[in-house]
């Protein structure tokens, strides 16, 4: 274990851990010193401005690599610091893939993806990390190694620590190892850009009635489509897979919704990594899926006249995501007040605004008791959930 100073966003030392026992030692040492820890993977979330009050950072980036992979089981077990890119590489050798495509570069870690519950367009058919993680190992805030789930695809033994840890932002335990469900690649995997005509509600109704069964469908604002080199109109990016007959039939069905053209599958990576650098705000607005057209209207209202705004929506989950660069704090607060009709989840905010516009979702008595059950001293990432 080494302690070095580094640009992690947290004050104090950076503790690098490359094994579960080193994570355990770091947590126990912090407990002995009465210190709080910020947990860091690749460090890509640190610019989100989440208000963590920590004395030191615990970095699990070196806790990386595949622990067990039997392709026939369609599961993989890897250390938390393993990057998504590495998992892509390892599984592709066997015609398999991990159906998790969070926004951001693929050099983000598995641990951070699960801890933050991050997901992307594929959630429309494969769900979010809660639906993909099968088992995990973590170190609790009082330094115990705890396991949840299993290395098999169905498991209901005991209380579900996997769901609890997923999306808990590290506040219940430092994730060290994860087992995930994989998918086998279909013979054909194609992506199409479909022109979306106004009015949006009618187009969505036609889309929902169409003979298509996409892996992902992402609605792109005209400016976002343009930034991705897909023309200057509102566009739906649709990914379908199966045998060639099934894919060809779906391409035909999509053509009835608007002008359609085949585009590179790399477009998805461009979308995932396409956020403007260092945005002021990235957030998701959502409602029940039938209300997606209303959510879209709200999102476009909020983004109005912001140059280089990025705006897209996962139709089938009722979620719109917008990324705004260079917006002043006061202007931003005014704009966010426009999101009255939908649920709001912030990914990135100016540090000063977290408490004002993103009230803690974990301050109810039950959540506090759950947290205390896993991290009695609230030593792990204190403040990251917006709690006082």
């Amino acid at each position: 274990m080494t302690q070095v100073a580094g640009p992690t966003g947290a004050a104090g030392a950076v503790i690098d851990a490359s094994s579960t026992s080193q994570v355990q030692d770091a947590v126990r040492d912090a407990a002995a010193r009465g210190e709080a820890l910020r947990i860091v993977g690749a460090g890509s979330w640190l610019h989100a401005g989440r208000p963590v009050r920590a004395d030191a950072s615990l970095c699990v980036r070196s806790l990386a690599g595949v622990v067990e992979y039997v392709p026939g089981d369609l599961t993989i077990t890897a250390w938390a610091g393993t990057t998504l890119a590495e998992l892509d590489r390892v599984t592709a050798e066997h015609g398999q893939w991990l159906a998790l495509d969070p926004f951001g570069a693929r050099d983000g870690t598995l641990g951070a993806t699960v801890a933050t519950g991050s997901f992307g367009p594929l959630a429309a058919s494969f769900g979010t990390p809660r639906d993909v993680v099968l088992g995990l190992q973590c170190v609790t805030g009082d330094g115990e190694i705890v396991n949840g789930g299993a290395r098999v695809v169905k498991h209901v033994a005991g209380y579900d620590l996997v769901r609890l840890m997923t999306g808990a932002w590290g506040t219940l335990g430092v994730l060290t190892m994860l087992t995930l469900r994989l998918r086998a690649r279909a013979p054909v995997d194609a992506t199409y850009a479909v022109n979306v005509s106004a009015p949006l509600g009618a187009w969505i109704a036609a889309y929902r009635a169409a003979s298509v069964s996409p892996l992902a469908t992402e609605l792109l604002h005209a400016a976002t489509a343009s930034a991705l080199g897909l023309g200057t109109d509102m566009t739906a990016l649709v990914r379908v897979s199966g045998n060639d007959e099934a894919v060809a039939a779906q391409e035909k069905a999509l053509a009835e919704l608007g002008a359609v053209r085949s585009v590179s599958g790399e477009t998805w990576a461009a979308l995932a990594g396409g956020d403007p650098p260092r945005p002021t705000v990235a957030m998701r607005l959502s409602h029940r899926p039938a209300r997606i057209a209303d959510v879209w209207v709200q999102a476009t209202t909020i983004a109005r006249d912001v140059p280089d705004a990025f705006l897209h929506a996962t139709l089938d989950r009722g979620i719109a995501r917008l990324v705004l660069p260079r917006v002043g704090d006061a202007d931003l607060v005014t704009r966010l007040r426009l999101a009255t009709e939908c649920a709001r989840v912030c990914e990135v905010l100016p540090a000063a605004l977290w408490h004002q516009v993103a009230p803690s979702a974990a301050s109810d008595p039950l959540s506090q008791r759950v947290r205390t059950a896993f991290d009695p001293e609230w030593r792990l990432n204190p403040g990251i959930l917006g709690e006082a």
Binding site: V146, A150, K154, V156, A157, G158, A246, Q250, R369, L385
Partner: protein
Amino acid sequence: MTTAALEAQLGSIVGARYVRSRAAELLVYESDGLPGYRKRPSLAVFPGTRDEAVAVVQLLARERVPFVPRGAGTGLSGGALADGVVLIGLNRLTRIIDLDPASRLAVVEPGVVNASLSRAAHSHGLHYAPDPSSQAACTIGGNVAENAGGPHCLKYGVTLNHVVAVNAVLPDGTVTAFGSADGEREGYDLLGAFVGSEGCFGVALDITVRLTPNPRAVRTLLADFMSIDAAARATTAIIAAGIVPAALEMMDAGTIHAVESSIYAAGYPIDAAAVLLIELDGLAAGLDRDVERVVALCEEAGARGVRVAQSEVERVKLWQGRKKAFGAMGRIARHLFVQDAVVPRTQLPNVMASIATIAEQHGVRVCNVFHAGDGNLHPNIPYNGSDPAERERVHAAMREIMQACIAVGGTVTGEHGIGLDKLGYMPLIFSEDSLNRMCRLRDAFDPHRLANPGKVVPVRSCREWHGFVGREAPLGAGAAS
């Protein structure tokens, strides 16, 4: 508070006729779907509305009286047994509160029967995907408590993947919302923790579930194998080909014989060592191409023949045999021990061979019928429970089967839960620290350990556990009364 006083108070909430206390009335609640255990509740209470359910739990919380929530009692792990405590029957709460076809969501009370929700959604071209074999009787509330599965979970996912929100009354009487149907909710996934908590985290008052579009086309295949090994190889080959069948079920010779000599006879080949029941669904275009590929993969693995159902009648008949296989085993002996374990899919051939050896050594008959695509085994043993020697042989064989599954990296339940029956296996798959942490999680939801006491996690793992509330304990032990 005495049992009589509690009965009177519960009666004032739900009406006296919905509180049962006489031994003869409680007899039917002594068992659930698992034979071999009998536990009698002190009282059984049946709230007829959500408000009554809340008031019942609040009264029990106030008086510190332990309770067990129960749906249809079809569970297979003894989880719905109430040992000298109050049983809360939720089967009067049967309203489908809302059906939103545009968002593909339904809101149901906990006592709604699984299959009846799919019937209600059918006219909208939708269904509720998780389909446990007991779906004609089991309730959505029970499904949530157990995180129930079913054959079609291979493609569509288990209960957890379909529950969007739950309003529940916690064991302390607080009413809480978990999850949300109206957009994303931040914070801990308490909904995910609640699903599968086996009634230990509270009582669901209403449940919002996702509905799934009915597939536009369905093909059902029956592949006939001369060895279990070959059937297992076919299973792995199909999954590896990037085809995700809606279901991929295996039945062995014992099960085939039981089904074919019952009223559920489905036309399975009685001289086969194993059959695979494979369903492919989705869009019509390209589906027959996948069927051809699956047929070829089965033949390459050694199938004697593959039959594709040519009509809806034939398709339903093939499924009927599978879904009623447990019932068909009832003809063999009076009792049936239905087991549930999961192994990595590639270990299926090894484990099936181990099970056969164990069965022979103990002189028991194992009928295997299971979700091969998920590696989710159901080795079942029909037996005569009134013969103590046979009963002991069956239990000894089951223990060895479970140990064989654990030894290859498997787990002890994929969809039936731990309940009472599998408590002893928990230390074999979880460390003491992990079990202790589960106890602490339970205490966050239920500090006084009133809800379904003594289930899921072995008592000794809870370091601060103050004793098991059993039949001998006075009702409401620890309460101020």
